[in-house]
């Protein structure tokens, strides 16, 4: 019995040792200014984005604040970082070279700005890029694969002199990776454009990369172009057509976008009505939800247009292959009337083309000849 008591004591002691070893929950510090008395001279005007803000300082420094994450002070080339700033602020000295990019949605923005040469390492392999310039850069060795976001090659990242790792919100599931990179002196910037509920909010993140890579004017112009395209599509009267956007998972359930998601908003901007108007709250981190076939059938069978989301489930080549995923789909109004479309697999990597996508959605909702309509991001299923 004495030995058992000793063991119990040992166990209690051990738990006491392990528990204080816990990491702290990352907290947003919404402090104002740099913490050394310096206040911003102006703020970047943002029209749609809610997940970041940019404060402008007199010496050209920019303070990027990412919602519920970190603060990054971008210091122009030739300027010294101000002294005495808050310890939570990460200083990034321009020019940024050899950045490790593990957030696929960002490549489209970087490429549009023409600063692909700032990226030296990628968390995605060459054949997984739908962006031609990114794939080409990797094939030519200008960008090297440095391991996935979940298991990066720390040695390669460190030896490349990487000044910044750009990660998607997937990194929140692997906190030890973020902590390891930061302990090696590589700051981690979490790209939260996927949490924007407005498609233009997503596109507006180009302004963040404009700041990071010294292309602010170009970023503004590119954003304005996309905004103009969306506004053009929005000018027309709503078509009154209902749209179901989904895919069938390997377990047989229908996976649909939540009502507050940016895809639902794009459909709305294009003049359609997303068929699932009451799915989930806007502040939830998940953008999709799995639905049992019964509920899906009841809600979506009368949709005027069906768009199959090929990003995860893979592209389809005909209505027959769609129906093969679930024979119930043959009973859908859109299937019977030939209004079935499939998205390209690349739509989630093309963050900078959301305006063009809205125009295409508008086109597929208004065309009288679906079979004869040629689009870039969606194609008609026969």
């Amino acid at each position: 019995m004495k030995r058992t008591r000793v063991l119990a004591l040992f166990l209690a002691l051990m738990l006491l040792t392990v528990l204080p070893g816990c990491g702290k929950t990352a907290e947003n510090v919404p402090a104002s200014g740099l913490g050394n008395g310096t206040e911003p001279v102006s703020h970047m005007e943002l029209q749609y984005a809610r997940q970041f803000s940019v404060d402008e300082y007199a010496d050209g420094c920019r303070l990027i604040t990412v919602q519920d994450d970190g603060r990054y002070l971008v210091v122009p080339e030739g300027v010294t970082a101000p002294k005495g700033i808050s310890s939570d602020i990460v200083v990034l000295q321009r020019p940024l070279q050899n950045v490790y990019l593990a957030a696929t949605a960002v490549m489209s923005l970087i490429d549009s700005l023409g600063v692909l040469d700032g990226i030296g390492l990628s968390g995605t392999q060459a054949d997984k890029w739908y962006n031609d310039n990114a794939r080409e850069a990797m094939e030519e060795g200008r960008i090297r694969f440095a391991g996935k976001y979940s298991e990066p090659d720390y040695e390669m990242i460190l030896s490349a002199g990487c000044p910044l790792a750009i990660e998607s919100t997937m990194i929140y599931h692997k906190p030890e990776v973020r902590e390891k990179l930061e302990s090696l002196g590589v700051p981690v910037f979490v790209e939260r454009s996927g949490r924007e509920t407005s498609p233009l909010g997503r596109t507006e993140w180009i302004k963040v990369y404009g700041v990071l890579f010294d292309k602010e004017e170009e970023a503004q112009q590119l954003f304005d172009q996309q905004a103009a395209m969306m506004e053009e599509a929005e000018k027309d009267e709503p078509t009154g057509k209902t749209v179901a956007f989904f895919y069938i998972s390997s377990s047989g359930s229908a996976v649909v976008r939540k009502s507050g998601d940016y895809v639902a908003k794009m459909i709305q901007l294009a003049g359609g009505t997303y068929i699932f108007s009451d799915l989930g709250e806007e502040d939830s981190s998940a953008s999709t939800t799995a639905m049992d076939m019964e509920t899906f059938y009841q809600k979506a069978k009368d949709a005027d247009v069906v768009i199959y989301n090929a990003t995860i489930a893979g592209e389809l080549d005909s209505v027959a292959t769609l129906v093969a995923r679930n024979p119930l789909l043959a009973e859908f109004k859109a299937v019977k009337e030939g209004n079935v479309w499939c998205s390209d697999q690349n739509i989630y990597q093309e963050t900078m083309q959301l305006g063009s996508m809205v125009l295409e959605l508008h086109c597929l909702l208004t065309t009288d000849d679906p079979a004869g309509t040629q689009l870039h991001y969606f194609y008609h299923l026969k």
């Binding site: 392990v18 929950t25 391991g147 979940s150 390669m156 030890e176």
Partner: protein, 341 residues
């Protein structure tokens, strides 16, 4: 008789010496090999604190060293944990996860992902480690609770398997409410990895693993008596009830520690104790316990070297590699048992 005893002793010393040499060789290989090439002369300077290249020094001291130490400590812990359970159940294919430890850990990790990350908040790695450890210990506690009512070891295995099923079912239920990112990352977590280990992690795991291993070693005598049968152990003054709880508890602490820091790592706990006993040609705890620890460390160091270098910079999960080398050993044990009947 005396010559035979001497020859057995010599064999064990040779095995121990060879294993120590193998461990040193693998430590050297793990320090030297990686996606970045570091020359031998530079490596010598780094290890003696006279490094000229700060980046290379960081690679060695902040990336390779903590990782190889984790492989040594956690590999040893897993192997020892397996040996304890094999002794307890008197069954060579009883593994450290037979009592539902990995399922319990997976359940709490899934809960953390869904509750914390699903609500848009973030968490540090410490929370993941603690949640996995607590989940593992809770499932083990539940099995121990059952063991106080049921006195048969076979029923304990059934209880462990049932706890595992219940935890897996609840995990599946939790996953229903998880987003795609949580599902993918939970799957990755359950395949195990030594990547991303920090010096802070090493400090905690060293304390837990070494202290538990010392306690296991101190139990060598009652373990030896228990191997001769329960009645024999009882006659030798071993309190069987308390001893069984101690065995399960120590084994669980070791495997829970591994699961918390690296996720579930398969086959090490079954394959290594068997190989060690075959090499030593004895099951005497005084020899088997330290050599098992050494064997687990060697096995995991070798497997981790393969996992991180073969397809570099892409990394294999540690369980994929340990399964390739460990599964044939387990099949071999089963075939041998069948032939022995």
């Amino acid at each position: 008789m005396e010559t035979e005893a001497k020859s057995r002793c010599a064999r064990r010393i040779v095995v121990l010496a060879v294993m120590i040499l193998a461990l040193l060789a693998l430590i050297a290989a793990n320090i030297n090999l990686g996606s970045v090439r570091i020359s031998l002369s530079e490596m010598t300077r780094i290890l003696t604190g006279r490094a000229a290249d700060a980046t290379a020094a960081d690679i060695v001291w902040k990336i390779r060293m903590p990782r190889l130490l984790a492989a040594v400590l956690l590999g040893g812990a897993l192997s020892l944990s397996g040996f304890l359970l094999q002794t307890f159940f008197n069954n060579p294919i009883a593994g450290p996860y037979i009592l539902g430890i990995s399922s319990g850990a997976k359940l709490t990790v899934a809960l953390m992902m869904v509750l914390v990350l699903g609500s848009g908040r973030t968490m540090g790695s410490g929370w993941m480690i603690v949640s996995a450890f607590v989940g593992a210990m809770l499932s083990m506690g539940f099995v121990l609770l059952i063991s106080t009512r049921v006195n048969r070891a076979s029923m304990l295995i059934v209880s462990g398997v049932m706890v595992g099923y219940i935890c897996s079912a609840v995990t599946d239920f939790v996953v229903t409410f998880a987003d795609d990112a949580s599902i993918v990352n939970l799957h990755n977590w359950s395949r195990g990895s030594f990547s991303g280990i920090s010096w802070g992690d090493i400090r905690v795991m060293t304390w837990v693993v070494l202290m538990t291993s010392v306690l296991v070693f101190l139990l060598s005598k009652p373990i030896g008596a228990y191997q001769m049968g329960e009645s024999y152990a009882q006659n030798m003054g071993v309190n069987i009830g308390a001893f069984r709880v101690e065995l399960v508890l120590l084994s669980s602490i070791l495997s829970a520690c591994v699961t918390a820091f690296a996720g579930p790592v398969s086959f090490v706990g079954i394959a290594v104790p068997y190989i060690v006993k075959s090499l030593l040609k004895t099951a005497r705890p005084l020899w088997v316990i330290p050599v098992c620890f050494l064997g687990g460390a060697i096995f995991c160091l070798g497997c981790d070297l393969i996992a991180r270098t073969v397809f570099s910079p892409m990394e294999l999960s540690i369980s994929s590699v340990t399964a390739v080398f460990g599964a044939p050993v387990v099949i071999g044990i089963m075939l041998k048992k069948r032939r022995g009947r």
